[in-house]
Amino acid sequence: MSTSDVTKQGIRGERPGRDARVGAGLRRRKRRGERPMVPDAEFTSYYGKPIINRPTWEARDIAGYFFLGGLAGAGSVLAAGAHFTGRPAAARALKISSTVAVAGSAAALIHDLGRPERFYNMLRVLRPTSPMSVGSWLLGAYGPAAGAAAVLDVTGLFPRLGRSATVGAALLGPALATYTAVLAANTAVPAWHDGYREMPFVFAGSALVAASGLALAAAPPAETAPVRTAALLGTAVETAAMTLMERRLGMVAEPYKKGRAGRLLRAAKVLSVAGAVGGAALGGRSRTAAVASGAALLAASACTRFGVFYAGLASADDPKYTVVPQRERMFSRRAPGSGEEGD
């Protein structure tokens, strides 16, 4: 179809350019031979330009959403635990915080859209290959459940319905807290994509850190014993998963250690350990210590989310993280004796 057709009996179907013997030279030198098999060891790029496009998302909106979604989701599980083990003040605080956090999540997500007035198009289809689509529906189910749990708790109306809403929110909460890891990983951003195995555990741990921090700060010490244990658990899971991820990713993990992301993630580690250990040691005795530990835990979770977010931006901006692993993959695939590619 792409033939010349200038007509009036002129050119028709002629195609001089595409058959040009580019590189033939004037005199035919026989230079047959093998193509070079070993590619250049050094890494090349097009004027240092990034290969993939950097996410257009605002850190405040999307990293903020990762934080709020985790706080809400894990908070609902803690709320149900507190509710059913006779810790009403802790349960109420967590139900309220989850509702506020999920409302904030929705606001952040809509604010980040290029066309916020079209937010309802998110519910136009349900697409399992799009974590954002799945997440929109999840928010649509979780939000009302969390809201109902909080409102019915505060008002004391319809206690049975309130219990169901509490259970419903607790069952959906863990999905809300972890699916955001898939949202980030299901991109071409190397630091996010390649970490897809550990990222859900980082996010689950971080969500637990945030929610237990909130409960520690907001509920009376007599009711926060399980929450203090949960803070330790969350910190342990998050730290272990993060360490595992950095080790497994090799050079792709560099953005997690350098620059702004590195600073945030180091701060997250210090804050979460301080908050969890401080809370466990003193949170049952001193209200002040509990509030301080809780605040440290909340800050730790926020630092983790923003750190992961900025690491993704840094890894998208440098073509090295796209080219080098792909080159290595091609090379190991071509090398004799090696089987299928890893990832």
Partner: protein, 292 residues
């Protein structure tokens, strides 16, 4: 249309993407073969594309990157001509007095992947597969969530800031529907950009590489033509004279959704662990008044 049941539609070869998307009696899959060995860097494709598709101006800068002041594909650049200056001869061509300088020029475009990550991750269904097997954004549906932007392994689709929505090459959906070739291919004076049924283009490209190898251009290689590659083959593929990354292309792109089932599994385990772990914590602490 063959049954979709039991097939992996996320990765691997897929002979009929348009049929799998639900188009019946559809035309053959159409695409581009961009033969960079005959590109002269005139940028007629860039201009024709902008003109036909009414793509806005996106800044006039002098970059110092050879003759490339466009810099790359974006929401407002759907064809981009790359210029690379190298100290290597092209095949047996005689070098001038200035030494072995060669100039590589290549017109980049959306690859219209068989497994298009942008389409897979779009939460609104704004991105869709046309009857020609190409991938197009519906501008009246897109709400500018931006998920497709980091999902694309080639860095093609992008958000137009002042507009909020995302934009990319449509392979001139309006023109090809009317039996016309896309504007860039029409404007290309050397037929470096060739438009046609993908099967035919692949044959032509294979023959072209062979010719070039015969006359001593050992660097010539095809990029994106293999239906078994990480994106299931590109609808728009290339003949390159150097490694892909020299042109700003990823050497071995993989559609991110290939790993999505594993991602959901890991997230599911993490979610279950969160629920189970907390159940255990509360069980261990018992009802209020229990151990501190």
């Amino acid at each position: 249309m063959t049954s979709l049941i039991g097939r992996n539609l996320l990765a691997g070869a897929e002979p009929d993407p348009a049929g799998d998307a639900g188009h019946r009696d559809h035309p053959p899959r159409m695409g581009f073969f961009t033969d960079t060995s005959v590109c002269i860097g005139c940028k007629a494709c860039e201009v024709a594309c902008k003109e036909w598709n009414a793509v806005p101006e996106d800044g006039l800068e002098l970059t110092g990157m050879s003759y490339d002041n466009t810099q790359g594909l974006s929401a407002d650049t759907w064809r981009h001509v790359a210029f690379i200056e190298q100290r290597k001869p092209v095949g047996n061509a005689e070098a001038g007095e200035r030494g072995d300088l060669r100039w590589l020029m290549a017109s980049d475009v959306c690859k219209h992947c068989t497994h298009a990550a942008c389409l897979d991750v779009c939460p609104t269904g704004a991105l869709f597969r046309t009857e020609f097997g190409t991938v197009v954004v519906q501008e009246d549906v897109c709400n500018g969530c931006g998920y497709c932007v980091p999902a694309c392994p080639y860095g093609v689709i992008d958000q137009r800031k002042e507009d909020g929505r995302v934009w990319k090459c449509t392979l001139c959906y309006d023109r090809i529907g009317a039996g016309q070739e896309p504007a860039c291919a029409k404007a290309c004076p050397t037929d470096s950009i060739q438009y046609g049924p993908l099967d035919e283009l692949r044959e032509r490209a294979a023959a072209r590489v062979e010719t070039l190898h015969e006359i001593g251009v050992d660097d010539a290689r095809l990029y994106g033509d293999d239906p078994d590659d990480g994106v299931g083959g590109d609808g728009a593929f290339f003949l390159l004279l150097d490694e892909p990354e020299v042109y700003g292309l990823p050497p071995d792109p993989v559609v991110t959704t290939r790993d999505l089932p594993a991602m959901w599994r890991h997230a599911g385990v993490a979610a279950a662990a969160l629920l189970g772990g907390l159940a255990a914590v509360f069980a261990a602490h018992g009802r209020t008044g229990g151990r501190r």
